[in-house]
Symmetry: C2
Subunit: 237 residues, 2 copies
């Protein structure tokens, strides 16, 4: 994986003719090809995104999170955002490309929460990890407990090898970041010496994803709260 | 929930005219309405199902598990099974009804594994619980590690309240069954007195479902093995 940034597609003016009717079909804008987008090393600010593209990604995130990939229609999205079709295809090669860019944007948000939580030097490492999951739970709350976008789309699109690898790469990136404070906790004696930080991080993520799926069914934080408790009472004991 | 059986729709002859071409459209056969199907108290034998219906449900299970609900087309299913359209709609009111009956059949299988594992009087209660998850892992292996059908469809169809409640009912049924040996383990001192059996069962299921989702991404048993280990080393410690 590279640290290549996501979303800033060399299209940072709000005056693009493709984004105001009468619309035009175009494929000229450089678009990141499928599989080339990766977890960014530092999330680009929202302002770097074209306003229309940002609106499409924001509404797309909400729609994909509610309905999933196959039940999300581009036409509905265009109506909801009042964006013409040509403008959509100016910013995205295909529905798949669009979904991948929504996922990248979501991952930018998740990695932002990771940095906010894990970068706090005033807290012990395990407290920082706990803070990450609490922030993630607050994000889910703001979305009405619809679960985890990468968990949801990862399941639905697992039949597509490119998607499956990308989702696995996303989980792997989060696990590696979480493993850093777990390793620090182990070195300072807050965790047993035999704990494997990467393995523990992956277990926490898997339990969390299962709880996120259950919270989506129940529309409730209860499974998430239980997952945090069990992670800190037992998985890390 | 009642103990009403699933699948035996009063249609147990293999000589049905609806199931051999020339096909006919019919809605006369009594079909269990959406929401009325429940976890059966005792799984009906396969033989009680009409042969065509059984074929549709078997191929449907494999297809839904691979592709999910929205990406599964009835037409593809008819081609794969060489079943005429009229015959499909003789057995199922709709695609939704079909998916619910596939789920019920899958749950019959899961509850069969529960009974085989938890009903073994020669094993300690926690060993019986572990045996259930090991059998479930063997089932997933036989399917190529495509994860959990109820987890998968529960996520994709969570937008549909009837589906969501049904899936939650399915998890609840499994949790209540698993809570029985956990309670027995607690009473005989194999678990701390303060463990809540239902809560512990739900936590195990959530961790398992997250691991099943991850195993679907990786096409590998590794996350499932880790979930079993962590459940027995820590959640139940």
């Amino acid at each position: 994986m590279t640290g290549e940034s996501v979303g800033g597609l060399g299209h940072n003016t709000n005056l693009c003719v493709f984004c105001t009717p009468p619309h035009s079909l175009s494929g000229e804008d450089p678009v990141i090809p499928l599989g080339a987008m990766t977890l960014p090393s530092s999330p680009p600010p929202d302002e770097s995104l074209h306003i229309t593209k940002r609106r499409l990604l924001d509404v797309g995130l909400a729609t994909l999170l509610e309905r999933g990939y196959n039940a999300t229609g581009i036409q509905d999205l265009l109506v909801a955002t009042s964006v013409p079709k040509g403008s959509f295809y100016h910013h995205f090669v295909s529905k798949e490309d669009f979904a991948l860019q929504v996922i990248d944007r979501y991952l930018v948000e998740v990695h932002g929460l990771l940095e906010q939580s894990l970068g706090d030097p005033d807290r012990a490492p395990l407290e920082r990890v706990r803070s990450f999951f609490e922030r993630l739970m607050a994000l889910y709350a703001s979305q009405g407990y619809l679960g985890s976008l990468i968990g949801l789309l990862g399941q639905e699109l697992a039949v597509n090898t490119a998607f499956r690898r990308r989702m696995e790469g996303a989980f792997d990136g989060i696990a590696r970041r979480l493993a850093e404070p777990l390793d620090e906790a182990r070195r300072r004696g807050d965790l047993p010496a035999e704990v494997d930080p990467i393995q523990a991080a992956n277990l926490m993520i898997d339990c969390w994803e299962g709880a996120a799926a259950r919270s989506r069914l129940l529309r409730s934080p209860v499974p998430l709260e239980a997952a945090i408790e069990v992670s800190f009472r037992t998985v890390l004991a």
